[in-house]
């Protein structure tokens, strides 16, 4: 069975936030919730790198491990989903998640957060595929239609890629080969010809994988 993965190529991400917008639009997420966000490290300095991050659908998901009501489940495609009918909005998944993926529609006094919302890999939830109930609670179910998450489909630089883990890593391996085995031959130093930047700050094409 396929094991779905996201991969963000930091060499290619240009922080356009199209993935964030695509996600919000496709899934009609609640106010204040961003299932996906782009984080820029060293913003404005040499060696700046951006990375689009959402739920990485971990194999041994920390959110699922700490959930007091055990509302998470992993689909046959390796997508980590949760059941909002069971979620109590305690926030533990947010504490445990390495990526800050779980989101809450509210943040009020006396621990009132509302039910957790997170990236579903455009895979909906436990309701019937593409039913109105599923859409209202979890957003779009593109996987059921045979499509990949819209964030990755939308990515202009093909930085964010989604799909079966093997395929994704094969694409990335190919890219790394094309760029050259060494990070020194590609990147800031070559593009701007600045001395000192080439070596100290350049980045070998790195990717975040779920696990």
């Amino acid at each position: 069975m396929a094991r779905m993965k996201f991969l963000c190529d930091a060499q290619r991400c240009i922080e356009c936030n199209a993935c964030v917008t695509a996600c919000k639009n496709e899934n009609e997420v609640p106010w204040g919730v961003n299932r996906r966000r782009v984080v820029t490290i060293n913003d404005g300095s040499p060696g700046e790198r951006s990375m689009s991050v959402a739920c990485m659908h971990c194999s041994d998901a920390p959110c699922a491990a700490v959930c007091p009501v055990d509302c998470f489940y992993t689909t046959d495609d390796g997508v980590v989903l949760h059941d909002k009918d069971i979620c109590i909005g305690c926030g533990y998944c947010f504490y445990a998640c390495p990526f800050g993926a779980p989101q809450f529609p509210k943040s009020e006094a006396f621990g009132s957060r509302g039910k957790m919302d997170k990236c579903t890999f455009c895979g909906g939830g436990p309701e019937a595929d593409n039913s109105p109930e599923e859409y209202a609670k979890y957003g779009s179910n593109r996987l059921a239609e045979g499509k990949l998450p819209l964030c990755a489909e939308m990515c202009a630089t093909r930085s964010l890629i989604a799909g079966d883990g093997d395929t994704v890593s094969e694409i990335f391996r190919e890219r790394v080969t094309w760029r050259g085995a060494s990070g020194l031959t590609w990147g800031w130093g070559v593009a701007y010809g600045k001395k000192g930047i080439r070596r100290g700050h350049d980045v070998e094409g790195k990717a975040t994988g779920g696990d």
Partner: protein, 354 residues
Amino acid sequence: MAAHKKTGARHHRIIVWSLLSLVGLTLLLPLIPYAVAYVNPETGGVPNPGADLWRAVREADVGTTQVQGVDTGVLINANGERWRHFRMNQLIPIGAMLMGSVLALIVLFYLVRGPLRIQGGPSGKKIQRFSVFERITHWFTVSLFWLLALTGLILLYGRFVLIPVLGPEGFGLTASACKEAHNLFGPMFLVAILMMFVTFVKDNIYARGDLNWLLKGGGMLGGGHVSAGRFNAGEKIWFWIAVLGGLVLSASGLVLDFAVFGQGRAVMEISHVLHGIAALVVITVSFGHVYLGTAGVEGTIGSMTNGYVDEAWAKTHHDRWYAEVKAAAGKTEEAGSVGGGATASSVVSPVRDG
């Protein structure tokens, strides 16, 4: 021809050497940066130039992002895994073992030793131990404490204990009810703890004889009778565990309950750790308190229900307090309030000052 042959040989030599040097350079040139790095460690000590960046990211170096919110600039939450380990592999199993073994010890002690009896049996004469206000404060704290302890334990252990019984939906409903009740009653517990502190602190300060009481194990093991004031050293220790534990629980609980001041995950995780440890310690020690107040010591429960204990009970367990009360009663004509049960003065002035 010879010259021609000579140039031809040179030509060959050049080609061979060129090829050799090309191959050699192809192999060696990429090593130059490493050689430089080897010679000048300060300019290039890192074999993978990206390592610095990714190490920084993993240590929760804060980046920038367009998404507003708490901790959104943090790419990797470094403490998440540590917190998970604490909650799932330490707090839950160790807490269960701690509470279970203390309960088992108490049952075992009861079976082996039985309740501590009043020396010489009850005298039938009653003496007031706790005023109305003291008892209200105690039971107010007790009810909040158990409401919070039960809802908290359900949230901690329900996944393992109650989901098999109630099913996922049923337990989701139960857990939601527990979570909301826990969050609403939590801040009230701080009020109760402060009331407890104000009401009982004056009799819970270390006094002469407490150390002796502790060294003799309160007379519980050797069976001998140990002198004590209004509260013995064990009760004083419980008082301070309850008050300090309660304050830690309240402070960390308020941090968790009011996630509206922009506190990030690190603060929440630390608060949760403190909350969990303090809760399990106070709950575990409370088992002992409940045992000693009910089945463990004959005639104690009355002190917290109607406020009165038997005079023989007082002589057995709190001889110095008994002497003080008797001396005070001897001095004034209001002796009825301590000696004779519900006389007029003890009935109409229920609220002790403070």
